[in-house]
Amino acid sequence: MTLILKLKKKLSAPVSAECISPDTFAGKQESEIAGLTLWEGNRKRQLSEIFEVEGISGSSPSETTIHIKGDLSKTRRIGAGMTEGRIVIQGNGGMHIGEEMKGGTILVEGNAGSWLGSAMKGGVIEVKRNAGDYIGGAHRGSTKGMRGGVIIVHGNAGSEAGSHMRKGLIKIFGDADQFAGIYMKDGTIVVHGNSRGRLGAFMTSGKIVVCGKAESVLPTFSIDKINRKTKIHGDEIAGPFYVFVGDLAEHGNGKLYLSQTENEHLKSVELFL
């Protein structure tokens, strides 16, 4: 069952939209959904004041699909905590999309803001264009980042992707800004493009694969070996890869896989093998 939300106006103040979730919408009539409350800045609004509501929702979250149309870059927390169902954002999404989600799927057809899938435990988030900082990260002050699920970004990602990550998979097909996998405890990050470096700072375990160029490797990582290929959740990625171990300043045992052919500037580390 598909429910369509159309943005009525250009948003200015941030809209806290955690009520937009299959778990909240399931089993509700159109009028009930239109009457849900959300915050626009410091004003309380009904959903129908900001969105046109059309269609019907399913009787359970798993049968509910929500399509949202418009520029939603000012919204926050769409799909937060969702367990089942599907959300499609036909435009740009805002911050905290899929925060703490446990299941279901979210598709963003435009760009997504920062804290995409922060502290998520399960489900799949796919972004067709770029995403902001702290993908799959933790809340401020928390050390619990992503604990399961998959995040796929087809464009570029901002800095600190997968910070405090404990489990799950982040795939970035474009470039990643610096500090990808910072404080990582487990899980996997794959960057198909280039990385701005400082990969895996403070990481204690987990795996980061960069198929493009990594601007630099931190001095706290040590070269371990050269691998011909690596496997990510059963899929093989062809190498060869320099394999670094670190972060030694944290007694870490995380692995960095950096493409040998794309990283000529790291050739000097081969002396240590």
Binding site: S12, G41, I182
Partner: protein, 483 residues
């Protein structure tokens, strides 16, 4: 003539409290024990060219003089009409005024942020991540035998910091290195004069001073107080230091992480890190481990260069690692005199030190989302109240454009680009000169600010202005039936 002793200086986070100010007929005629910056403030604060003396309201594009009551009413209307107002500034006023500001932010459902968002905000995020092993400045004055200033230039920004608390101070267990540094300073001045003269006579450029070499000087093995400066360029403080380490810009994170490895007796596999030879870093690590009480002061060069809070995470982790081997503390070099107080009052009243969002009625905190520069850059705020700060001259351009296109209220004793662009200007009294209060030093020790002279007519204290605005806001909200 009345000499007021033990005056607290309202300039930087060092908050010197030994000033002696002479007042004659409600005018400050002399100030002793000051640095160049505070002397300039005490002797020139009342210059009418720089002062806001009457309340102003913008009408037809021009700022016009008006009554205080009118300006306060207009401010209250702007704030009640706004759906996402920002209350920013706070670091150059008293804790009492900040407390009134937090109450106002809660009443109007706004975002209250202080200037630490553009200076030591990353330090605060880091302290929340990693914790902080620190001490008071008194401890450092009496005990520290290794002082490191990292990405900070106290000679220019905190002129009496070295004299009162570190290298030049005479502590109970550590003797002052003052005479030594004065001799060195004279030597440097002589060299500079000579090179300038040779430039004029020989018509050629003088050679640049030598920066970090490959080894520490042998005198480092003596047990006197040592001063190391780490910076991207040779600052005045670096010239005074026993040793200066020049780090490549934006590479501090790599350097600190390498030092962490060396402090743990592990190997660094490269020859140099961030432009510094590893052999030198090994010596520095040995010096750090070998001291009895070390202190690392870090400045905005570390918090606002590439890596931001991660630089501080690494610096705090380095201090933590060093504490396995010796006693080491770390302290941020806070800038404005009460920026630490702004964090403390905000934490005491809301639970969060800066970037607190009251829009949903309760305090929320997520720097990056609820911090002033980010909100303004994304054009989300629709009104602003600026207290004792000048964001128009130091925020990014896009943020300033969005700040000034919406209604802007400025409470400030002095004329600034922000007051010039404001829609309502409320003149206030200088805290620490015309108004008393409390301020927190960079080591979080509260000190009383003294009222030395009476403020000009029409200039109320920040606290009283905010309380009057709050009173009008409450009345307006009651009239409009807003809960």
């Amino acid at each position: 003539m009345n000499v007021i002793r033990n005056v607290t200086c309202p300039i930087c986070g060092t908050l010197c409290d030994d000033l002696e100010v002479t007042v004659k007929d409600n005018v400050i005629v002399d100030a002793a024990n000051t640095c160049a910056i505070s002397d300039a403030k005490f002797m020139n604060y009342s210059n009418p060219k720089h002062r806001n003396l009457t309340p102003l309201v913008r009408k037809n594009g021009e700022l016009r003089e008006t009554s205080l009551e009118e300006a306060i009413k207009k401010s209250a209307e702007i704030l009640v009409d706004a759906s996402y107002p920002i209350l920013y500034g706070w670091s150059c006023t008293s804790c009492e005024a900040i407390s009134a500001g937090v109450e106002l932010a809660e009443e109007i459902g706004g975002v209250i942020d202080n200037t630490s968002t553009v200076c030591h905000g990353p330090s605060i995020l880091s302290i929340q991540n990693v914790g902080i092993p620190t001490s008071t400045l008194g401890q450092i004055r009496h005990r520290a035998d290794l002082i490191i200033y990292w990405a900070s230039d106290p000679y220019s920004a905190h002129p009496r910091h070295m004299e009162r608390y570190t290298a030049f101070s005479n502590g109970r267990f550590q003797k002052s290195e003052w005479a030594h540094y004065v001799a060195r300073l004279r030597g440097i001045l002589g060299k500079k004069r000579l090179s300038r003269a040779s430039e004029l006579v020989l018509m050629k450029e003088a050679e640049l001073p030598v920066v970090s070499g490959g080894k520490l000087p042998p005198k480092f093995e003596t047990d006197k107080r040592k001063l190391i400066v780490v910076d991207v360029r040779k600052t005045r403080s670096a010239e005074l230091a026993d040793f200066f380490i020049q780090v490549e810009p934006n590479k501090d994170f790599e350097l600190i992480q390498a030092l962490r490895l060396l402090v743990r007796d592990e190997e660094v596999e490269t020859d140099q890190v961030a432009g510094v030879p590893v052999s030198l870093l090994e010596d520095v690590a040995d010096t750090m481990i070998g001291c009895d009480f070390g202190v690392l002061f870090f400045g905005v060069g570390l918090t606002m260069s590439s890596g931001k809070l991660q630089n501080i995470d690494a610096a705090i982790a380095l201090t933590r690692d060093l504490n396995y081997r010796t006693k080491f503390v770390i302290m941020p070099m806070r800038g404005h005199f009460n920026v630490a107080g702004a964090n403390i009052v905000s934490t005491w009243q809301t639970g969060y030190p800066f970037a607190v969002d009251f829009s949903q009625g309760y305090p929320r905190y997520n720097p990056g989302e609820t911090s002033a520069v980010d909100i303004l850059s994304r054009d989300e705020a629709d009104a602003s109240l600026i207290v004792a700060s000048d964001p128009v001259s130091n925020f990014p351009r896009r943020a300033v454009e969005n700040l000034v296109k919406n209604p802007l209220i400025a409470i400030d004793p002095v004329v600034s680009p922000t007051t010039a662009m404001a829609d309502v200007v409320l003149p206030s009294a200088f805290v620490g000169i015309e108004e008393g209060g409390t301020a927190y030093r960079m080591d979080r020790v509260p000190l009383p600010m003294k009222k030395l002279v009476d403020p000009p007519q029409n200039c109320l204290s920040d606290r009283e202005i905010l309380q009057r605005i709050l009173h009008h806001v409450k009345r307006l909200r009651a009239q409009r039936g807003i809960a």
